[in-house]
């Protein structure tokens, strides 16, 4: 199986720092901005960004976890995990600027479902999307990221795998692999 390294630990660290400075540039001191990580994998990236942001700004940044399982458009249509993950949002997004954070943007369906789920917590003033990897050729919905780490050209027979040292992997890395032939 072919496996190609797209980002290594050092490159990811640079991207995270860039994300933080872009956020500070656009959102000043986060008085009216909240970050939402998309379950299950976006929250790992979110936690890293929040940690980094707090180091840089010295301020607590409001953040939460959003699960969109019950809002997906493929319920009963294909096999997907029924089991939801925790949604942990202890604030309302009413009138706030919201930054949705996920690791990989693929078809855009998760993000669509997440926006639907987010609206249960109020009407946001503005919503932005931040992803580590943007798979730009495979979108089903008209969704584009406002911030991306790297943009890759991939096709449906490939996987983008994001590994985190905090999840027991040797180090932070992003790989492109081929789906196994059946």
């Amino acid at each position: 199986m072919q496996k190609r390294l797209v980002l290594n630990q050092q490159q990811i660290q640079i991207i995270l720092k860039r994300f933080c400075h872009q956020l500070i540039e656009n959102h000043d001191n986060f008085d009216n901005t909240v970050l939402l990580g998309l379950q299950p994998r976006g929250i790992i990236l979110l936690d890293r960004i929040v940690e980094e942001l707090e180091k840089i700004s010295g301020k607590k940044v409001p953040a939460g976890y959003l699960d969109a399982t019950f809002h997906r458009d493929d319920f009963r249509r294909r096999d997907f995990p029924l089991k939801a993950n925790e949604t942990k949002i202890d604030f309302l997004v009413e009138g706030k600027k919201v930054i949705l954070v996920d690791d990989v943007l693929y078809k855009g369906r998760s993000v669509r479902a997440a926006m639907d789920a987010m609206i249960a917590f109020g009407r946001p003033q503005k919503v932005e999307l931040m992803v580590l990897v943007d798979r730009k050729l495979t979108r089903d919905y008209p969704i584009m990221p406002d911030y991306f780490g790297i943009r890759v050209n991939t096709i449906d027979t490939q996987y983008v795998v994001v590994e985190w040292a905090s999840q027991g992997q040797p180090e932070d890395a992003v790989w492109i692999t081929e789906k196994e032939q059946k």
Binding site: D67, T69, F70, H71, F75, R76, D79, P81, L82, K83, A84, N85, E86, T87, L92, D116, A117, I119, A120, F121, G122
Partner: protein, 308 residues
Amino acid sequence: MSQLSTRHLLGIKDLTEADIQFILETAENFKEVINRPIKKVPSLRDITIANIFFENSTRTRLSFELAEKRLSADVVNFSSSNSSVKKGETLVDTVNNILSMKVDMVVMRHSSPGAPHFLARNVKANIVNAGDGTHEHPTQALLDAFSMREKLGDLQGKKIAIIGDILHSRVALSNIFCLQKLGAEVMVCGPITLLPKHIERLGVKVELDVRKALAWCDVANVLRIQLERQQIKYFPSLREYSLYYGINKKMLEELDKEIVVMHPGPINRGVELASDVADSDHAIILQQVENGVAVRMAVLYLLAAVKA
């Protein structure tokens, strides 16, 4: 676990422990949903559910209807009092007529034990038993287990006493199956006339003295005296029942530990539970009702996803 092992919820007896755990875990997610400012998710928006109630119900029917609406299902309600059942239509005909109108799931309460099982064999829809006579009431047992877990954590090794009219109670039977599958110890307690014969064969302890039962248990699940199902006298008077089996605050204060008091409703105040207990911090009766909606959402959501 990717899906439930069954496409109907007829009784707890047919569920595996993994099914029960899966339902309870999913219910935790739905409990968070119903505490949001907007309490609705679109999961079942292409599903139509018929609530068919051949027996009276307040809590269960409202709870199912709310659960269905919060999952965005379309809901039709039917109660036997103003229907063609009175004109002599059979159960299968009634339900098949409803299903011809493209209904996907049926939630049914019926006074005959086994009615939902019969339906499941004869019609295509997913069937959810909302109580069949004196047999089972699975969603009540699931919400009771959910409420106990919320209060006590894992139920493995916990001691649960079911107190009252065990003979006529579908809640008791479903509770026994559910709690045993989750690893709890179960005791039934009531006057000997209201305990089914050979109940100990289900592996439950039997106790006639309510004070001993209270001293033994971590949770007391108190049941209503079902006068409407009693054709003969099982005890001399309600007053006497209340004297021997009614639970009041003083009895709880005499215990050397805190126990949790539950009741599936409707409560007969002053009969099985004194008001000073029903309204005290020991009782989690209203939490049970809240959890009922979340648990029923989980059941409907997971059943709808099971592929035939």
